[in-house]
Symmetry: C2
Subunit: 147 residues, 2 copies
DNA sequence: ATTACTAGTTGAGGGGGTATACTATTTTGG
DNA sequence: CCAAAATAGTATACCCCCTCAACTAGTAAT
């Protein structure tokens, strides 16, 4: 544990724990106000799996099933997802509606534009590669691969 | 906007937006359950400024003053901060109690131990320097310097 | 069939946030 | 000098997030 680890710890706290939220806040777009980050993540998960159960969403988002339940209710009211019944009548498969599909595409574009501006204004071309290397590494460390 | 920006955007979302929360969750220590990240940040801010007003905390944490007000109430109940009256009777200066001071020291140690383990197990010595470079950069980009 | 398990919902309680309205105090300025 | 304006912080209503425990309904297993 040298001084560099200490600095890394401090940076981790400042940048990851407290900084991320600010970046999210400063993305100025109506959809970012209408949908919470958790709702957006859920939409993206449903989109990537096409059809998914509540139980699997709880695993993927790493929260209690009741948190998922209320989130689903809100997204159903917004008409961005819909339910498909299976033979097992306990179970409900969720999928995106056309509106939901359109919304995640727009959200992706908005974030991409924002980050592109942020990165291109502040990071030199040579640094982008380093940025990617570190973030790929972080992704594996955080063990988000399965998500 | 080449493919690298696209990858950066995806990584940003996965690692920063959704990944950080998991790391925080996986720090297994009673204090991390007893105090929310926002409460911890507030304690650290009070600690670093010695004495601070509610209004300044609202600026530093970038939230509405009423959010600060309720947070202060909770921290007062936990006896980790105390109020000092100034000549301006509208204003209340906040400072850490001994208990509060002890708690941020313990929290720092806990997070340091956790991250040290995480980083040393997953990042080679040569990569640490890269990690630091990128994170210093991110810190300035996120404009957290004043905090 | 009867019991045991599983999927998902509900409600209480506590964390986060905003905006508005309000109290109390200080400043300002005619 | 005193009334009006500005300021610090609180309270309330309403929203999101979360957990845990109790519950319904449907399926599986003995």
């Amino acid at each position: 544990m040298d001084g560099r680890i200490k600095e890394a710890v401090d940076l981790f706290q400042e940048v990851l724990v407290y900084g991320t939220e600010r970046v999210i806040k400063s993305v100025d777009h109506p959809l970012w106000k209408e949908y919470s980050p958790e709702q957006i993540q859920m939409l993206k998960l449903i989109g990537s799996e096409k059809q998914i159960t509540s139980a699997r969403l709880a695993v993927l988002q790493a929260v209690h099933k009741s948190a998922i339940s209320s989130r689903i209710k809100k997204l159903l009211q917004k008409d961005v997802i819909q339910v498909v019944q299976t033979t097992d009548k306990r179970e409900k498969l969720l999928e995106l509606t056309d509106k939901g599909q359109a919304i995640i595409e727009e959200l992706d574009q908005v974030l991409a534009d924002y980050l592109e501006k942020l990165l291109s204004e502040n990071i030199a071309d040579e640094e982008i590669e380093q940025f990617l290397t570190i973030f790929r590494k972080l992704k594996t460390i955080i063990k988000m691969d399965g998500v």
